[in-house]
């Protein structure tokens, strides 16, 4: 047995006698970027998943190819709460650069496996340490030093498995999946894992505080990241033109489209029913999308904040000249380059009103990988139906992390291609039509596609002023008519965008509004409030812009509305404030913007604090609080990792 220094009371806490916590823990692995730990972490996550335990994996990585610190967090939770949890139960320290900080951030009683030379046990005495001589264990695994380094990381999978009770057979199966049946690689990795298992058995103390046991909550489920889900949705949504410029965290979306389209969209003669173009920049990418949309393709691009900024001019053209196209924004932390590999919801205002002049855009906001799939199709439909750029607002947490989901259902709804006049129809109309003529009264005019074989099919598209016949015009009335009709079109869109998901609990006086990935922390926080404090809350999960009447109704029917989002300013809350008029005094903001996904406990703590301040006995306090809220809404700002958490109430 290796020498471990553990405080006696901690030993007691983790040794046999007490009841273990089953299928509810967070594993945090600290490694060096580029050391191959991603495979190890995926295998670990997948083996827990295969044991039937709900699980999620979040990669916190640097903007770097190799050398900088990276972390991977696996959360297993029997109740299905797979949003981020900030408390770490089992730490794996493999990186000398961060070992001290990683250990210091642990809660008392946590477990910590560490690479022997890091000598973590000296850092504190209220954590259970497991020292492992990884280099020694990996020494005879391979002659090749590079491969040996990769295999070293597989050794900790064996250690963790043995300590937690994860079945070896599930690890082997997960390896098969990870290495896609490449037997040589599988064998080498199994040997590494067995080294870990054997070492833990022979030389480490056992622990009984956290255990992973078989259950049956993942049967038939898939694991996928949001970008891949969006790619599959796009491919099955009939996208034909995809253009992109590489940018973290969106690159994998279009790269996945290439993979899936090659699998499914090549005809027998080897020819493709799609075109994917890597553009020279985001301006060109969105220009191609709009040109393709104009000429009749279902077209899309994906990018992140900096790309959205560059696309601003073209998106205004798309709005004003009425060109279809889908733009995925996989949000990362801004402003400017910001934190390219961290998550945020900071592009809300930007995409809602992108470009100069009066503009407003349709925005879809998926919360889950399943919604990434669904909204990919929906966005292509809406873009063509409304002849306008449509945004899909995802984020790094959703796009790049691994999520458990029910398999995606094959789309059965017919796709919508919008109002397009054919040559036959033009003959019927005797050539009388106007490109921007609102003959249906819904703000959406008819269009023709270039190449339509009719002498009156053509019209001239321009970003300058135009009349209903698409003629150049600077007449005041023509301009006003055009932008008023565009506003009407946006009104019409309210009837077609995805409805919010509303959960109204009887007697609940508090209502939550959230969107996107915040929902994972929020649903868990509601559960905490219910179980720990007996507080029932209602929840309105926003899924699209424009806002719909349901939003006003929800705000009206609750006393206090907490808008929870992952940006500094409460961008969505401010938009909602403008929308709900006199009910705006009910709104409060809970803002999480550290670059890490929001977690449930932070929300719960914030609510409790804000509720306490609102209800401090006297009615006068209440009134005062509400007046203050009406001018400057209360914000609770939370930071990352308990120790560094800061809160500011303004």
């Amino acid at each position: 047995m290796s020498e471990t220094l553990i405080a006696p009371d901690v030993v007691e806490a983790v040794s046999a006698g007490s009841e273990p916590i089953i299928n509810d823990l967070t594993i945090h692995v600290a490694t060096v970027n580029g050391s191959g730990s991603q495979s190890s972490n995926n295998v670990l996550m997948r083996s827990i998943f295969q044991m039937g335990v709900p699980v999620s994996g979040k990669n916190m990585f640097p903007s770097n190819i190799a050398g900088l610190p990276t972390w991977f967090t696996i959360r297993a939770n029997k109740d299905g709460w797979i949003g981020r949890k900030k408390e770490v139960d089992l730490m794996v320290c493999m990186n000398a650069q961060t070992a001290r900080e990683d250990v210091e951030a642990l809660s008392a009683g946590a477990l910590c496996i560490y690479d022997a030379p890091l000598n973590c046990k000296g850092i504190r005495n209220d954590v259970v340490f497991f020292e492992v001589p990884f280099a020694k264990l990996a020494a005879d695994l391979s002659e090749d030093s590079k491969l040996r380094k990769l295999l070293t990381n597989m050794v900790y999978v064996g250690i963790v498995a043995e300590l937690l009770g994860i079945d070896r057979e599930e690890i082997v199966a997960a390896l098969g999946k990870q290495f896609k049946g490449k037997q040589k690689a599988i064998n080498a990795n199994v040997a590494a894992i067995d080294k870990g298992i054997a070492y833990a058995k022979e030389s480490l103390p056992s622990q009984n505080k956290w255990r992973v046991e078989r259950m049956n909550a993942t049967q038939g489920k898939i694991i996928i990241d949001g970008n891949a889900a969006a790619a599959i949705g796009s491919v099955f949504g009939g996208v034909t033109v995809v253009t992109w410029y590489p940018i973290t965290p969106s690159s994998s979306l279009c790269e996945s489209i290439i993979d899936y389209a090659k699998q499914t969209r090549i005809e027998e003669d080897g020819r493709a029913t799609f075109a994917v173009v890597q553009a020279e920049d985001e301006l060109a990418a969105v220009g191609m999308v709009l040109g393709a949309g104009w000429a009749g393709a279902r077209s899309m691009t994906s990018t992140a904040g900096p790309g959205i900024s560059l696309m601003a001019e073209f998106v205004g053209l798309g709005y004003f000249a009425e060109l279809p196209g889908v733009i995925w924004d996989i949000q990362r932390v801004g402003p400017s380059t910001g934190l390219p590999t961290r998550t945020a919801q900071g592009d809300v205002n930007q995409v809602a009103y992108l470009s100069h002049g009066d503009t407003q855009h349709i925005v879809l906001i998926p919360s889950s990988v399943a919604e990434c799939f669904d909204f990919a199709i929906e966005a292509l439909d809406l873009a063509e139906e409304f002849q306008t750029p449509v945004f899909v607002l995802s984020d790094l947490d959703l796009g790049m992390n691994n999520w458990m989901s029910d398999p995606f259902e094959y789309p059965t709804k017919p796709i919508k291609r919008g109002k397009v006049l054919t040559a036959e129809k033009l003959t019927e109309l005797q050539g009388k039509w106007g490109r921007y003529d609102d003959i249906d009264g819904d703000g959406v005019p008819w269009r023709t596609l270039p190449g339509t074989d009719h002498p009156f099919a053509s019209y001239f598209t321009r970003g300058s002023g135009h009349d209903a016949q698409a003629r150049y015009s600077e007449r005041p009335q023509d301009y006003k008519d055009t932008v008023d009709r565009l506003a009407k079109k946006y009104e019409t869109a309210k009837l077609f965008v995805p409805k919010p998901v509303v959960d109204i609990r009887e007697g609940a006086r508090i209502g939550f509004i959230a969107f996107g990935t915040t929902t994972w922390a929020l649903e868990e926080s509601r559960d905490q409030l219910r179980r720990e404090h007996g507080v029932e809350t209602s929840y309105f999960r926003l899924r699209a812009l424009p806002f719909t009447q349901e939003l006003n109704d929800f705000v009206a029917s609750h006393d206090r509305i907490y808008v929870v989002e992952q940006n500094r300013d409460g961008q969505m809350a401010d938009m909602i404030r403008l929308e709900v008029g006199e009910d705006q005094h009910k709104l409060r903001k809970i803002l999480h913007y550290t670059g890490l996904p929001c977690d449930a406990r932070t929300i719960t703590d914030a609510i409790l604090e804000m509720e306490a301040s609102a209800a401090e006995g006297s009615p006068l306090m209440l009134v005062r609080a509400e007046v203050r809220v009406a001018t400057i809404p209360t914000s609770v700002v939370s930071g990352f990792a308990g120790a560094r958490e800061t809160r500011a109430e303004d």
Partner: protein
């Protein structure tokens, strides 16, 4: 000055083309440019070239960026869809449109500001991709619509109306196109309509990107004493690489010539470009010779016109993408939505 064109066939103007259409069917709206603007002369030759080549206007898509030149697609081929996009970004829009429907015949009109400054990046990448489009730069050395500032193609030493002298070297868009591997590079002059129409016809027949830099004088802001892109100066300094003749694929005309005096280049569709050498035997398939000749012309203050570079066999962007024959934008759902089994297989792999 030698005649810039080579007489082929009878040379008689036709009144009706092979589609039974008249020149009027190819007209556009009334121009709003200044009287005698070089751009209008180019528009006229575009009308003539498409009419004489019997291209159905409904199958043409017109693109432009922003500026005086970019207004012109409204002044020709009224039956074609047109797209006046944003400044310098026409290449992206046109590329997207061609991806959606590669059966269209694309023509883009840009200016020296639109292409050589704000749009230089997009222009270069479009050339590199070899997107099938006729890309015309109506080059006058100044920004006309904003009232006469220098552009990046202004010649060294040329003078603005205000007396300001340009001291920077001009950007040679033909040279740039050659450098980037363009398979069809030409320079024309708005004041030489016969040469222009032959270049345009050849460009229509070419199955790839053709870059046509047309010196197109701005009569209002760059046609004075000291201008190097005005009518008088250009006429005096035009230097011909060769005489150009064009034989469309549907005409079986043989050209009589003395051996060694003429080069023929056959285009993808079988039509032929006939080049009669003048002072030297210029090989338009040689990019190095092209660049040398262009540099020499700039140094000598010549306005070199003709077919600078021809490599019609190059694969175009649509061919590289290996897409189906039908326009992608018009494929039925049965061809763009994979089967239920395909989704099930993907899901199975993710379990």
């Amino acid at each position: 000055m030698a005649e810039s064109t080579l007489k082929i066939g009878t040379g008689e103007a036709i009144k009706e083309n092979r589609l039974g259409l008249k020149p009027a069917d190819y007209q556009g709206g009334k121009s709003t440019l200044c009287a005698a603007c070089g751009h209008d002369a180019v528009s006229n030759q575009i009308v003539r070239a498409f009419f004489e080549m019997s291209v159905k206007a409904e199958k043409v898509a017109k693109f432009s960026g922003i500026g005086c030149s970019s207004k012109t697609p409204a002044y020709f081929l009224q039956r074609s869809h047109g797209f006046n996009s944003v400044h310098g970004r026409m290449p992206a829009v046109a590329t997207g449109a061609m991806l959606a429907n590669h059966t269209l015949k694309a023509i883009g009109v840009s200016g020296d500001g639109d292409t050589a400054s704000i749009g230089l990046g997009q222009f270069m990448h479009m050339v590199r991709r070899n997107v099938p489009i006729i890309y015309i730069i109506e080059n006058n050395g100044v920004y006309g619509l904003t009232k006469g500032q220098f552009s990046a193609t202004a010649d060294e030493g040329s003078k603005l109306k205000t007396g300001v002298i340009n001291e920077m070297p001009p950007m040679d868009l033909c040279g740039l196109a050659v450098e980037l591997g363009c398979g069809f590079v030409a320079r024309g002059f708005a004041g030489d309509p016969k040469q222009m129409v032959n270049i345009l016809k050849a460009a229509i027949a070419h199955d790839g990107m053709s870059v046509i830099d047309v010196i197109s004088p701005c009569v209002t802001f760059n046609n004075h004493e000291g201008s190097t892109k005005g009518y008088t100066y250009s006429k005096e300094h035009q230097e011909l690489l060769h005489q150009i003749g064009f034989v469309p694929e549907y005409e079986e005309i043989t050209v009589d010539y003395e051996p060694g005096t003429v080069r023929e280049v056959t285009l993808h569709d079988g039509s032929r470009i006939v080049l009669k050498k003048l002072e030297e035997d210029y090989d338009p398939s040689d990019p190095v010779q092209a660049l040398q000749r262009l540099h020499r012309a700039t140094e000598a203050g010549e306005m070199l016109t003709g077919l600078v570079h021809l490599r019609p066999e190059k694969k175009n962007f649509i061919q590289m993408l290996n897409v189906v024959d039908e326009p992608l934008g018009q494929l039925p759902l049965s061809r763009t939505r994979p089967s239920r089994e395909a989704l099930e297989k993907i899901m199975q792999d993710l379990m």
